[in-house]
Symmetry: C2
């Protein structure tokens, strides 16, 4: 079975749960329910990896140290692009190499997603124009200010438009489970949530 690739963007001061939630969901999804299928990758529909602008250790919010598996240069083609948020998004809003990589990756990805203030990066890259979208409650005004054609949804947990955006931090888990459901059906998504002992939002 050819696996869909999930590329999760990492950067300095990325919020931990913003990337760890989607990483957990996509990397632990199995087409066969239960525990045994999760002891190997045989039934894994996704190949999940992290990508950063350059190699070397990244310090996430709170000091967690993570090492991206790939750089912009070395990453395989990405089917599902995940842009997490965090304070670290702010300096990137004017960092051309990151915006260019997001635009180029989004152009070839089959699905583009954001968690939390990751939506700000997508907006700045022009990818949310004339779309419905959401972000962390603390970043809703910033999102609207970046592009006044965005229809900002202030009470949604996950917004499905051409881009799939989610509210803050833990909402990235729901967004990821929604994507699993869209691609592999409700039973597979519910089984993944059951494995994670996560109660999906409705």
């Amino acid at each position: 079975m050819p696996r869909q690739t999930v590329g999760i963007f990492l950067f300095e001061q990325v919020e931990v749960l913003d990337f760890a939630g989607p990483f957990e969901v996509f990397s632990r999804t199995r087409l066969e329910p239960g525990l045994a299928s999760r002891r190997s990758d045989e039934q894994a529909p996704f190949s999940v990896f992290t990508v950063a602008e350059t190699a070397g250790m990244i310090t996430a919010t709170g000091g967690l140290q993570v090492v991206p598996q790939y750089t912009f240069e070395t990453a395989p083609a990405i089917d599902l692009l995940v842009i997490p948020g965090g304070w670290g998004t702010r300096p990137l809003l004017d960092h051309a190499p990151v915006l260019a990589w997001i635009r180029e990756s989004a152009a070839v990805a089959s699905l583009v997603t954001s968690v939390c203030s990751g939506a700000l990066l997508l907006a700045r890259a022009g990818l949310l124009a004339h779309q419905r979208a959401t972000t962390h409650w603390g970043a809703l005004d910033a999102l609207a200010a970046l592009d006044d054609t965005i229809m900002v949804e202030r009470d949604a947990r996950v917004v499905h438009d051409r881009v799939i955006s989610s509210a803050g931090i833990s909402a990235g888990i729901d967004m990821s489970l929604d994507v699993v459901e869209r691609l592999h059906g409700k039973a597979v998504a519910d089984d993944t949530a059951h494995y994670m002992e996560y109660r999906r939002s409705q």
Copy 2:
């Protein structure tokens, strides 16, 4: 304000959300509600770090690469000990240095907690004897088999006995929020959940 230290154990094949959930909660807790307090550590009641047996990169479940901030040798004294789970717990059940470190750390910690199959390590270290405890649904029988004096709670999300144990994976978020509530009150825990856009279990 002297901060309480939170030491989160890392090991090969630790489950990502098992450690990332508690890391997020404890590192983002602030005594002052809202967003501004989270731009610095001034109002942070906890100092959170990761600890592994040895230095160097650890590969978590699914391939996420993390670098522990400390080793058993170099870690500061730990007030709140967090033992996450994952398949990687199984080889550690007979690994004397890890069991010894857990025992020694637990002896001086003010609170010992587990997420998911991290409870197996605590059981093996003798720390759950004659206590109520829980773990991931797939590890309940294994927990009971390790020590028949443990009163295994099969339907609980978080069990509060001398050790605080939680069910699988995402339940570590609820466990951590419960600990925040116990130490700093419901308002601080609820504000942290609100910041994370996480709906606490009741």
